[in-house]
């Protein structure tokens, strides 16, 4: 029974996350690219989206820090690493380059792929290939924490 509730809360979390991306307009790569285009018609919406999301999440992490287990009795998995290494820097460098090229990051791309957008589906397939490439390149084993 608890197993089922855990899956249900995961499903609802993904669903509400998707609603947030739709309502905020972040599913539209044009709006994301307009934020990244400081030399053009700059659109600051993304900052407001991030600000709203960070403010609410901060409360959740504040509560989580005081608890040893989640409300469903599961361990709380918060990444503990504080090391800023080459992997983090190079990985984020490459991610940003791709993000700025298409205007898609993983969440919005999955939401739009679900909506049946062929271009989003193409992006998601390439993204999965990139992740597979990462696994095959042998980095997969070392990456314990995920986000």
């Amino acid at each position: 029974m608890r197993k089922l509730i855990v899956l249900l809360t995961a499903l609802i979390s993904g669903l509400v996350f998707g609603f947030g991306l739709i309502l905020s307009g972040m599913v539209n790569p044009a709006i994301v690219l307009a934020f990244l285009d400081i030399a053009g018609q700059w659109n600051p919406s993304l900052l407001w989206v991030m600000g709203g999301a960070v403010a609410v999440s901060a409360v959740a992490f504040f509560i989580a820090r005081r608890r040893s287990t989640s409300f469903l009795g599961l361990p709380v998995n918060v990444p503990a690493s504080r090391v800023i290494d080459k992997r983090l820097l190079l990985g984020s460098f490459l991610f940003g380059a791709g993000w700025g090229t298409a205007g898609f990051c993983p969440g919005p791309a999955l939401v739009m792929a679900g909506a049946g957008s062929e271009k989003a589906i193409l992006f998601v397939i390439a993204m999965l290939a990139g992740m597979l490439l990462f696994e095959i390149a042998g980095h997969g084993r070392k990456s314990g924490v995920a986000s």
Partner: protein, 150 residues
């Protein structure tokens, strides 16, 4: 539409803010109920890794979360209309960008959700650095593609 007109007058993009708070609500539920970080690249990457190494551990909740994301427009459409979406990138650019995003988020252990939202919310030094980095290269890529190469 009246709502949107009011928005431009006050100069605060309310829908963006409300949508962001909804994203925060989702990360809150996932953290406090499931004890997990709602980092989308990590969840998807975990599925890819699990399938490759034939390890089914943690596959169920990962698939459930991603299923929620994928059906979100279908559910949304029952109540509201979907916003217009413009994807200007060519197919070639989408493929290159997709591979960069997939590989990069795995190497850097996170994307806009894991580092940008969850990591920033708990003031993780790693996530702050990662977010500054991907924002910088995001700005640089758009600058190059729109104002230098054209």
């Amino acid at each position: 539409m009246n709502i949107e007109q009011t928005i431009t007058e006050i100069d605060i993009p309310w829908l963006a803010l409300a949508g962001g708070m909804l994203i925060g609500l989702a990360t809150t539920l996932f953290l406090l109920a499931n004890g997990r970080i709602a980092g989308i690249s990590g969840i998807v990457g975990g599925i890819v890794s699990g399938l490759l190494h034939l390890s089914w551990r943690d596959l169920d909740w990962r698939l459930a979360f991603i299923a929620g994301l994928i059906v979100s427009t279908l559910v949304w459409r029952q109540f509201f209309s979907l916003p217009d979406v413009q994807i200007q990138a060519s197919d070639m650019m989408l493929v290159v960008a997709g591979v960069l995003v997939g590989f990069g988020t795995r190497l850097g252990s996170g994307c806009t959700s894991g580092h940008g939202v969850c990591g920033m919310a708990r003031l993780s030094p790693r996530s702050i650095v990662a977010t500054l980095m991907f924002m910088s290269t995001g700005f640089a890529a758009v600058y190059l593609l729109r104002h230098v190469i054209v």
